[in-house]
Homo-oligomer: 299 residues x 2
């Protein structure tokens, strides 16, 4: 089944202890698509500036990622700069230039509106609401957000949360949304806001899913060297939803496997800058790592 | 197989957001014994003052915990006071009165020296070394320590680490011992210091074991309310080593199950103050939670 994703396309400037990249391809919609398209067709809605080099996304077009909903506006593409330190769990944002994204009003092409699966990547909740108002009744709406919107646009974000089925947040965000330091309790409380399923990302500690009164825990795939964590959350979401949409089932077992596929794809993504890993990744490599993943927790 | 444990017996004063306890029974040797004795006989070496009420440990004597190595000295028993906050991952030490522990020189009774399994609880590494010099060649030596000794007695601690088979530390301690922020790398580097197996405790994020080039991850059992985290690490170690000593095997599968048993017993321990949970806990309750635990990670 096809997935509609609304999010950013960007040029990222990344500094890490292992090196620097200028104007690397990035953005939540692209990381999501690069991961999800291993399993399901993806329909992208987003905006780029006239400086965007569309040859860079040709590898995604070959994998059934549809860019009919990508609008090209005069001006520059969204740019983000970040610096990671030795402890890759923390990063500083060096700059954010919204550029053409500032005036972005997502318009969902008619032939996208039949998408049964929807991923609202981390953008302004007002735009997320505009998307929800344009689509029919999809099978599943998955929502990502961040602390910036939790503190800045709380009321409208709560409205979006109410209308989604799965909320993906990190541990800090789960605590911020509930005022509970205990993540187990926070996850349960978040389901009272609307979504039946909560996925809490915990960086190096993996992630936790709360669904139908059951908890599921997946570790982060053990990597001795992480090169660039940018896009880890979006490639996780892409692996997760890509797998679920392919199965076209929403039971607990399918969602659990989705979490593992998401974790595995995110683990490949962080092993190199930008899309260096996701571009060449094969389904065989993914499946091999899924099997190794099983050994990490089976007893 | 019987286990020798050398550690503290204490009276703890605990403040948490849910209440306060004065002079509650505590200490690493007791938490370890209360957990391990569900599976294997335990031989305790430690010291208490003349104020110690030995009727409080009668529940352990009934479970084959031998206190022939418990010395009673004139003076007061070791006392520790701690305060936990809403975020139970952090605690403040309010006071530490070593009392009779200050002059403690562990003497291992002759009939203890045949113990095949040894747990060196978190005490001064000089004392841990004295213990190692008094025992023959046990099958397995498990070592616990803390940041206080890592920064204060690093050289002698490294000597103890070199002579043990399994090192149990928390995530901060693993980073401190290796100067590596990446825990996956830190665990591997720690094996170069001597132990073949490293267990890294990560509080609410569960724990990780590195053994024979394989990683194993166990989440913390999900609890919506944690009452008192005191003794979590020692009851984890007790559940782990108690299970392993009972199987009397050291293969990867046994160690993995040991980690799960340790995690489950620690989860009971933190559900109430002092030994309120561990005193009444049954093997049936443990096994029930082991089965629930399996569902947390199986996919």
């Amino acid at each position: 089944m096809s997935i509609l994703v609304v999010g950013s396309l960007a040029y990222d400037t990344i500094e890490t202890p292992w090196g620097k990249m200028d104007d690397a391809l990035g953005g939540s919609a692209l990381y999501f698509s690069a991961a999800a398209s291993h399993f399901s067709p993806v329909n992208v809605v987003g905006v780029v500036g006239s400086d965007f080099d569309s040859s860079k996304i040709s590898f995604l077009k070959k994998r059934k990622v549809n860019f009919d909903g990508l609008y090209v506006e005069s001006g520059d593409t969204f740019r983000w700069g970040g610096r990671y330190h030795d402890d890759l769990n923390k990063r500083d944002t060096l700059f954010t230039y919204l550029n053409v994204f500032e005036r972005f009003q997502p318009k969902i092409p008619m032939h996208y509106r039949k998408s049964e699966y929807v991923f609202l990547a981390n953008i302004d909740p007002e735009l997320q609401l505009q998307v929800l108002d344009q689509i029919d009744h999809p099978k599943l709406i998955v929502l990502d957000t961040m602390n910036f919107w939790i503190s800045g646009k709380r009321r409208i974000l709560e409205e979006v949360i109410k209308r989604c089925d799965i909320l993906i947040v990190n541990d800090q965000e789960a605590r911020e949304l509930t005022n509970k330091p205990n993540l187990i309790k926070a996850a349960r409380l978040l389901t009272e806001k609307g979504p039946q399923t909560i996925i809490v990302k915990k960086g190096e500690h993996g992630c936790m899913m709360f669904h139908n009164d059951n908890y599921f825990f997946a570790p982060a795939y053990p990597l001795e060297k992480v090169i660039d964590p940018t896009g880890a959350g979006d490639s996780f979401a892409g692996g997760f939803l890509g797998y679920v949409a392919k199965q076209n089932k929403l039971d607990h077992d399918t969602l659990k496997k989705g979490v593992v596929y998401g974790s595995v794809i995110a683990s490949f993504n962080v092993e190199n800058f930008s899309f260096a890993q996701l571009e060449k990744l094969t389904v065989e490599e993914i499946n091999q790592r899924i099997e190794k993943f099983r050994q990490l927790t089976a007893f």
